[in-house]
């Protein structure tokens, strides 16, 4: 799967606020790209596994984000729900090269292939 990723550059990491997030609209869904206090960049599908809350709108703390709808907390590193909650937010590959954020998209997300 990871072998077939299409890497797209989405902009400078500096354009994402610290302890905040911005989104990337793909051809199929939306990806939340987070910047933590220690300036690391993480990405998850912008959809909480619980009730599809937009995770990019949550409060970012440490390497975690809290969903704005019902306060479930997810690890930015793994996507896994913390504490007593079950569930996993979909992790998206990303990296920063020369200050630019690059996200690894599937063919569907990148619009290289159409569903169905």
């Amino acid at each position: 799967m990871t072998n077939n990723l299409t890497w797209v550059e989405v902009g400078p990491a500096a354009n994402i606020p610290q302890q905040g997030a911005r989104t990337l609209q793909t051809q199929t869904d939306r990806i939340a790209i987070f910047r933590t206090l220690d300036d690391q960049i993480f990405a998850l599908l912008d959809r909480c596994p619980h009730k599809q809350g937009p995770l990019a709108q949550g409060i970012v703390h440490g390497h975690f984000v809290t969903c704005p709808l019902h306060n479930m907390v997810f690890s930015l590193e793994t996507g896994e729900a913390q504490g007593p909650d079950d569930g996993c937010a979909a992790k998206v590959e990303c990296k920063v090269i020369d200050g630019m954020v690059r996200v690894g998209l599937t063919e569907l997300q990148a619009g290289l292939r159409h569903a169905g």
């Binding site: 302890q19 905040g20 990337l24 709108q57 970012v60 809290t66």
Partner: protein, 823 residues
């Protein structure tokens, strides 16, 4: 001499206590515990207040405690125990022949037994200028008030005396924003309690905190004409000062005793059951001299109180045998402990442990295999253990090699605090101040069914004084009760911290913490940058504490307050423009209709707060929606915020045939005054024009109901899960009063309630009386609250929609970082 009292002699003996301080009242408590009906008790105190915990003056000065928290016995306690208290009326004469004491106001009171607990006086060095205004000692609440008054203006302060009390004063003043210099005569600070190494580490820590320490400093003169301006040293150096605190020591106060012919040397001379040279007169506390010793710490006073109470209630006692003392410095973040004789030399040997990295220094002095003294700096966990070994005179030769590593290592108790307390013998001392050992705490817990720290404090006095053993007592509770014990006395804000909301708020002010990193650093947050629970609370506390100065931290706000709209279940937002007092007009309605059309807004709804909600707005459309609403003169309704929401009104005297006051215009005025203010939680108001109360003002946070002669002001109502009707705060007559009381009430709520606490639970917690005392009874305080509210409103009343629609604030919130284009 035959003296016949005027009244028929009471059946009970009369005990008069001179001194309403810690030693005197502790003796009274011990007497009441042993024989509650034995004496008719009268107490005279020089200070015009109830009995408080004098060793807590330092936290009072630094702001870590307030006066209510250091009160030991409330007025109710005196009443319940039938104790007659004359506070602010000191005894000026004892007539031992007539057995009468005479107070300053001229009251004569007869006694059968007289207890002297006159304490000690601060020593004032009689250098020139010692009577200037601005020169104080550090002995009572009045001194603290003077110091706080000076600190409010800032500027330089000098503390003369680098002993226990002087350093606590210096740290407190520095925390209050003064520029502090400590002058100390000896070669290192706290020389009676610390050796030079620990003294050096302590001085270094103080310097790091911004306090200047000058040792071998001999004061020549306090300079100034009427008010102090500085201190000149004998070597010619001049140190500027707006405040000089003399903390060079104390001297037993035996004047009254000496005047009446009782034996007084350095202090009032007493025997082992605290009897003076007059068998009807007793003395306890800092005023006494026992076996040639005078004491200035609490633990000995309390031991004296026990012996004295035994004797006065005719219980056989071994009497007081003198005390071995230990000391701790009460400065947050600085751990210093010392006990016994640590001068070394002679036949003694020393064990020294240093860890420069952690700033730890331990020195244990041994003689004949027993501990003779100990000094600990930086890590005082084992102070109590060394002290116990020392008092017991236990041979520690076998432990010698690992003694410096402490009890956990030596006792094999594996570092588990519960195992450690469980392993302690019954006679191990837990509370040094009150001399309470493990056995008495455990038996109180089991026999009286105690389950909380407060109950243990109440029954045994353990941890009731300096409080540093509270953790040990909690461990004892846990070890004794097992799974039944829940330590819930302080509920931390979240798992990032051990502090509760109230202590964080107090420390933000006391320590002048003005940013989130400063709070997290100083209050030892356990996570790098908090979490979704603590960060919004801290952001609010900072905003409330430093209006106009603290810059709001968007990343610490819930999404609704960050984008000034309400997130809905599908990730779209709702938009509610403000309609002042529920009033609108065709122009506004037209603009709302146009916006709904233009942006395809699916739902338009009238809210319960008399305004219109536009639901289902896409996030990226928000700035454009706001721009159109702004253009029609509308601003944010803050329907999303922990802030002033709506002011609901009825049509009132303007239209209604029953109306007695203009409720619509009152509602509009209140809303114009209060909009934009951030609060601990949402805040709703209503104004009704007559007692029929059509605006439902009695389920609002602040409800105003018109009457014939004026307005009834109601507070603390709520229409949520738990419906709660308001309570009547007071009645007022003028419109101006309504506004002033409203602003003052909001400000009190803003300053005192915990984040996410509505007014209803807040008032249930603190009581309506608490609010009335501050807002209604005290006009000056009401005015001050109102002024503080209006000051914070100066920077708060900025329409967040306009800032985002036309000034480009937080533009990143409303646009995706990027889009993946179709092939």
């Amino acid at each position: 001499m035959n003296h016949v009292p005027a009244n028929i002699k009471a059946a009970k003996s009369r005990l008069v206590v001179i001194g309403n301080g810690m030693a005197g009242m502790r003796t009274v408590e011990e007497i009441l515990n042993r024989a509650p009906d034995k004496y008719d008790i009268t107490v005279f105190g020089a200070e015009p207040r109830v009995n408080y915990n004098r060793i807590m003056l330092s936290p009072l000065l630094s702001g870590e405690k307030n006066f209510d928290e250091i009160v030991i016995n409330t007025p109710e306690w005196y009443r319940e125990n039938n104790i007659h208290l004359y506070s602010g009326d000191p005894v000026v004469e004892i007539d031992r022949i007539r057995k009468v004491v005479i107070s300053k106001s001229g009251t004569e009171t007869e006694y059968d037994r007289l207890l002297l607990a006159t304490g000690s006086d601060p020593i004032i060095i009689p250098v020139p200028g010692h009577k200037l205004s601005g020169v104080v000692t550090f002995r009572d609440v009045d001194d603290v008030d003077v110091m706080l008054g000076a600190a409010a203006k800032g500027g330089p302060a000098v503390v003369i005396g680098g002993g226990l009390l002087g350093l606590e004063a210096a740290v407190g003043l520095q925390a209050r924003g003064m520029d502090v210099t400590v002058l100390h005569l000896a070669g290192h600070v706290m020389e009676r309690q610390l050796d030079p190494s620990a003294g050096y580490l302590l001085a270094q820590e103080l310097e790091r905190r911004g306090i200047t320490v000058i040792t071998e400093a001999d004061t020549a003169e306090i300079v100034g004409t009427e008010t102090v301006t500085g201190v000149r040293l004998k070597d010619g150096r001049m140190i500027p000062a707006d405040l000089v605190v003399m903390a060079v020591g104390i001297r037993p106060n035996g004047r009254l005793a000496a005047d009446t012919g009782i034996a007084v040397e350095r202090g009032i001379v007493v025997d082992d059951v605290m009897t003076t040279s007059d068998p009807a007169i007793f003395a306890v506390g800092e005023c006494v001299q026992h076996r040639g010793q005078c004491y200035g710490l609490v633990a000995p006073l309390f031991e004296m109180a026990k012996s004295c109470a035994d004797h006065l209630t005719e219980i056989a006692t071994d009497g007081y045998a003198g005390s071995v003392t230990s000391t701790k410095l009460k400065v947050t973040g600085v751990d210093v402990f010392s006990a016994g004789d640590f001068s070394g030399g002679g036949n003694t040997e020393e064990i020294v442990f240093r860890d420069a990295g952690r700033g730890v220094y331990k020195r244990i002095v041994l003689e004949d295999g027993k501990i003779k003294g100990a000094v600990l700096y930086g890590d005082t966990t084992d102070g109590g253990w060394y002290f116990q070994l020392m008092k017991d005179g236990q041979d520690v030769s076998e432990l010698r090699d690992t003694l410096a590593f402490g009890q956990a290592f030596a006792g094999g108790s594996a570092g588990n605090p519960l195992d450690a307390v469980a392993a302690l013998p019954d006679d191990a001392e837990i509370c040094g101040c009150n001399g309470v050992c493990k056995g008495s705490i455990v038996s109180a817990i089991t026999e009286k069914g105690l389950t909380t720290l407060d109950e243990v404090k109440g029954h045994t006095k353990a941890s009731a004084s300096c409080g540093s053993c509270a953790g040990l007592v909690e461990n004892l509770l846990a070890a004794t009760l097992g799974g039944d014990y829940q330590a819930a006395t302080v509920k931390p804000i979240c798992t990032c911290t051990d502090h509760d909301h109230d202590s964080v708020r107090r420390l933000i002010i006391a320590k002048g913490l003005k940013s989130m990193p400063a709070i997290m650093q100083e209050l030892e947050w356990k996570s790098s940058d908090g979490c979704h629970v603590c960060r919004p609370a801290l952001n609010y506390y900072l905003l409330a504490a430093w209006p106009g100065e603290y810059v709001d931290h968007g990343a610490s706000r819930f999404i609704n307050e960050r984008v000034h709209a309400n997130i809905q279940k599908d990730g779209t937002y709702s938009v509610v423009p403000r309609m002042w007092g529920g009033l609108t007009n065709p122009r506004e309605l037209r603009a709302i209709a146009d916006v709904a059309d233009k942006f395809d807004i699916p739902t338009v709804k009238v809210t319960g707060g008399q305004r219109i909600d536009l639901l289902g707005v896409k996030k990226e459309d928000l700035p454009a929606v706001w721009a159109d609403l702004n253009a029609a003169g509308m601003v944010s309704g803050h329907a999303y915020g922990k802030s002033l929401r709506t002011v609901k009104t009825c049509v009132g005297q303007e239209w209604c045939r029953f109306g007695t006051q203009m409720s619509m215009s009152m509602g509009v005025e209140l809303e114009k005054m209060t909009w934009g203010s951030w609060m601990p939680h949402k805040f709703k108001m209503a104004v009704s024009g007559c007692p029929r109360n059509c605006a439902e003002a009695t389920i609002k946070d602040f409800g105003v109901v018109a009457t014939d002669g004026g307005w009834d002001l109601h507070v603390g109502g709520n229409g949520g899960i738990h419906v709660r009707a308001t309570e009547l705060l007071c009645k007022v007559t003028t419109d101006e009063e309504v506004k002033e009381y409203c602003g003052a009430f909001i400000q009190l709520y803003r300053e005192e309630a915990r984040y996410l606490e509505r007014t209803a639970p807040w008032i249930e917690r603190v009581g309506l009386k608490h609010v009335q005392e501050r807002v209604v009874d005290d006009a000056e305080n009401r005015k001050a609250l109102f002024d503080r509210f209006m000051i914070s409103q100066q920077t708060a009343q900025k329409d967040p929609w306009a800032e985002r629609a036309s000034e480009g604030v937080d533009a990143h919130e409303f646009k995706p970082l990027s889009m993946v284009a179709a092939e």
